[in-house]
Every structure is written in C-alpha cells, then in structure tokens.
Amino acid sequence: MSADELCSLLRQCSDDGTKVTVVGGNTLRGMGFPPSGDELGLETSALKRIVSYSPADLTVGVQAGCTLKSLASRLKREGQFVPFDAPKTGEATVGGTLAAGWLGPRRHRYGRPRDLIIGSVIALADGTLAHAGGMVVKNVAGYDMSRLYVGSFGTLGVLVQANLKTLPLAQTARAFLAPLPEGTRSRAMAQVRALAVEPSAALWIDGFEKEIPGEPGAEGRLFILLESSDALLERATRDLRSAIGRAGVPETRIIDARARDMLDGIIDAYVSTVADRSMTYRIACLPDRSEVCVLGARDLVRRFALDADAIADIMNGDVIVRASRLETRDLPLKLQVLDDALHQAEPRARIIAGDHPSRAAFNVWGNDPPAIARMRALKSRFDPHSTLNPGRFIGGI
C-alpha cells in the first residue's frame, strides 16, 4: 500500500465510521488496551523501504514498516546505528517502536528515540498526509510535530516515514556479567552509577534465569555494556572491575564476542512471557530510586504467591517487573488484585507484556497524568471520530 492509498483508506474509514487498528511487527502487542476485535487491521508491512540514507550526513529516512533489524544491518555496513534498543528486532518495525514510545537502556547516553527523530510523514485520520521537520539535524521551523507522534500509540495518525539521526558505532563493545553475593547489590549499583566512563547500559537483573545468561548470586546479577574507543577500553574495564570489586563483588566475566547482541537478548527478555501466564510492568522512576522500587514491587508480587522477575536500569531508573505463575488456578484474579496494589505504590507502572484476555480490565498505562484533559483534546482535534486505535491508549483515548 502506498502512502496515498493509506490516506484514502483512512478517509473512507473516518467517513463511514470504521475503526482502524494499526499493526507493525506486533511485537509489543502486550502494550495498551487490547483492540476490541471489530477494527480493521491496518498493516504497515508494505511500507518498508529505506527511503534515503546519507551516511555522510548521519541521517536516514525510513518507512514505518521497515524492521529494526533490516535498518540496523544497512546502517551497520557504514559503521552507524540508531539506538532503538527495542525487543525482537527481526519483527519489530520502526513505526511501531516509535509509536509505542519504547525506551531502551542506552538512552542516557544516546538519547531517546524522540530525541533522534528529525522529520516525519504521517497519515492523519481524515486522510491528510502531513510532513514535519526534514532531513537536517537542527530545525526549529514551527512546532516539533515529529516528536509529538513518538509515543502517541498510533492514535494521532499512522506514521508513514520517520527521518532519524544516525550515530557512529563506538569502536568496541564489551559486556560484563557478575553474580552479586549477599549484601553487595546496593553498593554495586551506586558504584556503577558513579563510574567516570559511563557504561552504555547497566542493569541489575533479578530472576529471568531462563531468558538471560549468567550465574546469579544471592542478590541477582549485574549486566554491563561498555562501548568506547579502543584507547579507552582498558581503562574503562579496570575502573569498572575495581569499582564493583570495592562493592564486594568478587568475580566478573568479560564477554567480548557479540557483546551488543547480548544486550539485544536481554531487551527481548523485557517482553518475554511465561506461556500466557505472566504480566510485565515497566515503572519509570529516578535512578536513585530504582533499587527500592524493584524491592517493593517484588515483595508485592510475592505476596500474591506469584513469581517475580525484575530488571533495574541503573543509569536511567526504569524498572521491569514480571509476575507469573504456571501452576495456579486463580491467576487472572491474582493479577487483577496485584495490578491495583502495584498502582497504589507505583502510579506510573504500565504493562508492556502479558497478552492475555483479562488485561482489558487492568490499569495498563498507569494512572492518568496531570495533563490528561489536554491529551484528550489533542486526540479529538486530530481524530474527532476516534477512528485510530480507539480506546487503546491512556484515559480512554
């Protein structure tokens, strides 16, 4: 389907009241309220071209249906990348990842996807094809519409094309895995946060033993990715080892081969489910609160006799918590009560995985933000008949 065909289809749907749900790679189908089933499913998979790539400008224009993996492999040939850090890159699309507002563990260093978008083409519900921004890295000509579309969950329009800044890949990447013995976690996390050469990603992993490699200690394990120039790598390695050594962590395994792939594998675990018997939350919190947040959320999950797996993003503060149980009869009920309890403690907890039917009754986006009324007004100004992804976003949007 071309962009023009997409526009006329949307116009028609808007006119005759057909609801539309936009589908990218379907990798984040666990996010948002589930579609009601009556919608017309609109796939972006035909729009998958890299429209323009200028390595010397560090910019790329790519259609929404292009998978993260095919974009990444094209960019890699030029020693570049876009730090989406989203799961299942073979299926996930650029449009879906942007619309979902996915946030990965390297963003403290490379920026959020919304920081990297410099232009866009979007099909609005009334069939308007609107362009914003362009192919330059600095642009203040009018409102920054492209950034507004990132994270809008396909409710303002259907993203057709995104223009993005690309970044040069660092010369080397090195991963570290360390089991955390009793009483070392807090200090290790603080030490990592204080490192002069900041890691590209630093995660405290508690559980996820099937999904993520590495022997856990009594307090889980640490995963760290360093990306740097060759000249800096030795010093960064030395500093890191002595810092976590000071925290009482005796051994660290260094992994040089496919270090970045290892991070991709961990990011896949963020949305991995336990059959259809799990629910995974992401909680945005400040870096210095992430440990406390994990501990609190984990206790809650266990209080309902469910298994807890968790990841704390040491640099950015995100917390991922998965509640699951294979052999229990009243799982939906337990998850429902947990959902309420968790939001009492962490109003911002949102569901990112766990694709089962009872999800519709949960607080999937977390409590309404202060500006919810303005968000609703924005939605009705862009999509007055609520044609696009109706009811799937926060606050009934």
Partner: protein, 474 residues
C-alpha cells in the same frame, strides 16, 4: 491602557511590578532582531500564581500575552507586533529552585540566565549542556521556548533533549504540568520550541551532565572556506562527532582578533574550532584522526589548547564573534538556516554569491558540525540601499538552503520574522496540522499572536474546547 486594567494588574502583583509609562515600555519593544511596537503593559511577576493571575486579567480584557526572557531572540519573538498586549518579564523569576545532584537534574525558574545555571551547579561537578552563544544573558525560559542550540549541541543535542518536565500557565491562566516520563502524549516535546504560543513556562526540570574529565580544543586554519567546509563534511562523514565543531571565516577572524586577541590566525580564510570533551586516554588518538582529516583538506596550521586558560581564550573569540562584528559595520543581520552537512560547501558558496551580488560584507560564524549556518550581513541601517540589500541577501540565502534540502531556521526560531517563510517549507496541510495543536492549547490565540504561523492561517474546522478541571501542580 485603561486605568482599570492597570489597577487590576497592580492589585494582583503590586504596582511597582507593573510598567505602563512609554519610557519604561520602550526597552521591551524590541529584541535582538527587530523593533516592534509598544506593549500596553509590562508586568514582572514573582511566581507562578502571579503569572496565572496576569493571564486571567489579560484574557478577560482581551489583551494578548507575550512572554519575554532576556530579549536576545533573533526573530522578533518576544515583541508586540501590532502594539498593545501584556509582556510578562521573568526578571524576578530567576532562581534555581532545586538541585537533585544524585539524579543529575535541576528545577529552575524561567528567568534564570543560562550560564548562571551551569555556574550554580558546578560545585556538584555538573553542567547544563545547551549553550547558546548568548548564554551570558539569555534565559532558560527563552531557551526552552526557542529550543535553543549552541556550539556544544552537536554532541549533546539541543534544548529539547535536556528538558525533563515543565510547569505551564495556559492561555486561560490555569497551571498544568508535563513530564517526559508521563504516560500519554509527549506534550513536553511539542511545548519546547513553541515560542510562547502554546503556554508560558513557569518552571522546568532540566537534565544536567557531569563535567567532563578532560577537554581539548583545537584550532585548524584553512586557505579557503571551501576546504574548511569540506573538512567539516569529512569529519562527520568519518563518524567523528566532536563535542563542538564551529567555523569562522576571515571577516569574523579579523574582527575577533582585533577585539579579543584570541590568537586566531588572521591570514587564514577560515578556521575551525573543534572541541572534544571526554577522557585523556583517548585524546591523542582523537586529535590525530582530526588532524589527519584537516591536513588532507589542506589545513595551513593546527593548534591545540590544553590548559583551561588557552581553551577559554579560543572560545572567548567564538562567543564574542557576533559582538566583534560591530567593528565592521554599525548594524548586522544574522541569518539562520540549516542544511544537510554534506552540502555545507555548496551552501557557503551560495551565501558568498548572494552577498556579492548585493554588494554586502558577509561574515560566517556558525555551528558547522550541525550544518547550521549563520551568515552575518553587515550594514548601516541609515542607508536604504544597504537595508534593501540585506533583505534580498537574507532571502537568497533562505532560498538556497531550501533548494539544498535544508530549512529556514536551525535554532533562532520563526517568530515574526520568518512566519511567511513557513509556506516555503511546509504545505498548507502541514501548517494546518501544526495549527491543530495551537487550537487545543490556545484556541483564542491569546498567547504570542502573530508569531510562527503565516498571517491568515486559520483552520476551517471549529476547534473543540479544552476540557477543564485537570489538577495542577502549583
């Protein structure tokens, strides 16, 4: 201005903070770009509640509201175009409210001067990265409203990448907050850069970065502007993104040398000022790679500043460059366009031709690494021929930038100056889409009217009212 209006403002924020005498208003009638008309009043509130009260009064009486920081804007953004309106000055809201060093962020009032923020957090070994050349006077509020850039935005990103949360007074005087980590639409992203047309920033959480362990600054001189700009394209093309990569041509270099004695080579046609902030361990390799590229593009000389004093001297020249141009002519006009970095040589060539055809002196000092050009057109405003020449040269540069795949403003904004030029890069549909956002946040066009949108952009559809009753954070 009616006496009743003045009285109500005075009751709300104190008579001493309300200015209505023409001689008091005059200084608020222009910014660094233009002279506008006198506003009806200038008010100087002390906090969010007062801002809210002012907006309510202005709205009741049908007066537009124009937020104003330091007035260093370069597109007529903070001035009253048609005369009248209430200008809100943030001169009394200039405090750092909270420093959260552990999470590297700070909450600030909009009137805080950019440089003062970095100075006040230096003790915690932190700094605020966006550094417009006007940072000694421009305010965080103004920077947020224009999504200001600066030399160091090449690697750190512009203001929008450093704003975490906002407190906003809307067109009706209500207060609301946004946060990049809130669920729902990223309202912060669209409020930043909206030039005071969607809401008034009354406080912001901004991101701070750690002061670098080691910083080096280099100066490379080139025999002509083409080779310097090709070197820039080659550096970026090689995947090297320094912290800053600035270019100055001979007009600027000579003016700067006379003013500051920064040690710039006056025989060069162009110099590149390059900074890398990072770690000592990698500086030598880094320098070698840059130097090699410069050499390949015919550099005449290469200088490294290692001490803080040497670095500051080199930067003083760059940051004072615009002021130094005052030695060349009594007035200057700064154009601001961005092009893809690989076409920098072509863009600079177009600038040169445009200036030559109009018989003007042009100086170039700009954020080369970002492809963000700032041709400074020197003139004397008492000479009508020169004024006309500036206008047509500025226009020719806009035209060239658009032809080369660029845009009409990289960092100074649209304001009043470039509102009509918006139609040259956006279709009616594109602009109408932006206007939908305006319809939601400012349906009556109370906030900074006559800015950004070309005259006459109105949406045919009736806009839905914004729902009230959201809880605010003030």
């Amino acid at each position: 201005m009616s006496a009743m209006f003045e009285q109500r403002l005075a009751d709300a924020i104190g008579a001493e903070n309300v200015k209505t005498a023409p001689e008091d208003l005059a200084v608020y009638s222009f910014d660094a770009y233009s002279e506008g008309k006198l506003p009806a009043a200038v008010v100087i509130p002390s906090g969010t509640r007062e801002v809210s009260a002012i907006v309510k009064i202005a709205r009741e009486l049908g007066e537009p509201v124009i937020a104003r920081g330091a007035g260093t804007g370069l597109c007529g953004g903070a001035v009253s175009v048609d005369g009248g309106g209430v200008v809100i000055s943030f001169a009394r809201m200039h405090r750092l409210l909270e420093l959260d060093a552990a999470n590297r962020r700070a909450r600030v009032q909009p009137g805080l001067v950019n440089l003062h923020l970095s100075q006040q957090v230096a003790g915690a070994k932190l700094f605020y990265a966006p550094d417009p050349a006007s940072q000694r006077s421009s305010t965080i509020g103004g920077n947020i409203a224009t999504n200001a850039g600066g030399p160091h935005c090449l690697s750190y990103g512009t203001t929008v990448n450093h704003v975490l949360a906002l407190e906003i007074v809307d067109e009706s005087g209500e207060v609301f907050t946004t946060d990049v980590d809130d669920a729902g639409y990223d309202l912060t992203a669209v409020l930043v850069g909206s030039e005071g047309t969607l809401g008034i920033v009354t406080s912001a959480w901004v991101r701070l970065l750690r002061l670098p362990e080691s910083t080096r600054v280099w100066l490379a001189a080139f025999p002509d502007i083409e080779s310097a700009s090709e070197a820039v394209s080659a550096i970026i093309g090689a995947g090297i993104v320094p912290t800053a990569l600035e270019m100055m041509d001979s007009v600027i270099v000579k003016a700067v040398e006379e003013a500051f004695h920064a040690g710039y080579p006056t025989d060069a046609a162009a110099v590149l000022l390059i900074e890398n902030a990072g770690f000592e361990d990698e500086m030598d390799t880094y320098e070698a790679a840059l130097r090699e590229i410069a050499k390949r593009h015919g550099s005449l000389s290469w200088r490294a500043a290692r001490t803080a004093a040497e670095r500051d001297a080199l930067w003083a020249g760059r940051k004072g460059a615009v002021g130094a141009l005052g030695r060349v002519a009594p007035n200057y006009y700064t154009q601001d366009v961005t092009v893809p970095r690989s076409v920098l040589p072509k863009a600079l060539h177009a600038v040169e031709i445009a200036a030559r055809e109009n018989d003007l002196v042009v100086g170039n000092v700009f954020h080369a690494g970002d492809g963000n050009l700032h041709p400074l057109l020197a003139y004397d405003k008492r000479d009508r021929r020169q004024v006309g020449a500036v206008l047509s040269t500025g226009d020719a540069i806009l035209h060239a930038a658009i032809e080369l795949g660029g845009t009409i403003s990289g960092e100074h904004g649209v304001g009043y100056e470039k509102r009509e030029a918006m139609t040259r890069v956006y279709s009616t549909d594109d602009l109408a889409t932006m206007a939908r956002v305006r319809d939601v946040f400012d349906p009556q066009r109370t906030l900074n009217p006559e800015k950004i949108f070309p005259a006459g952009t109105r949406c045919v559809e009736v806009s839905p009212p914004v729902r009230r009753g959201e809880h605010s954070a003030s």
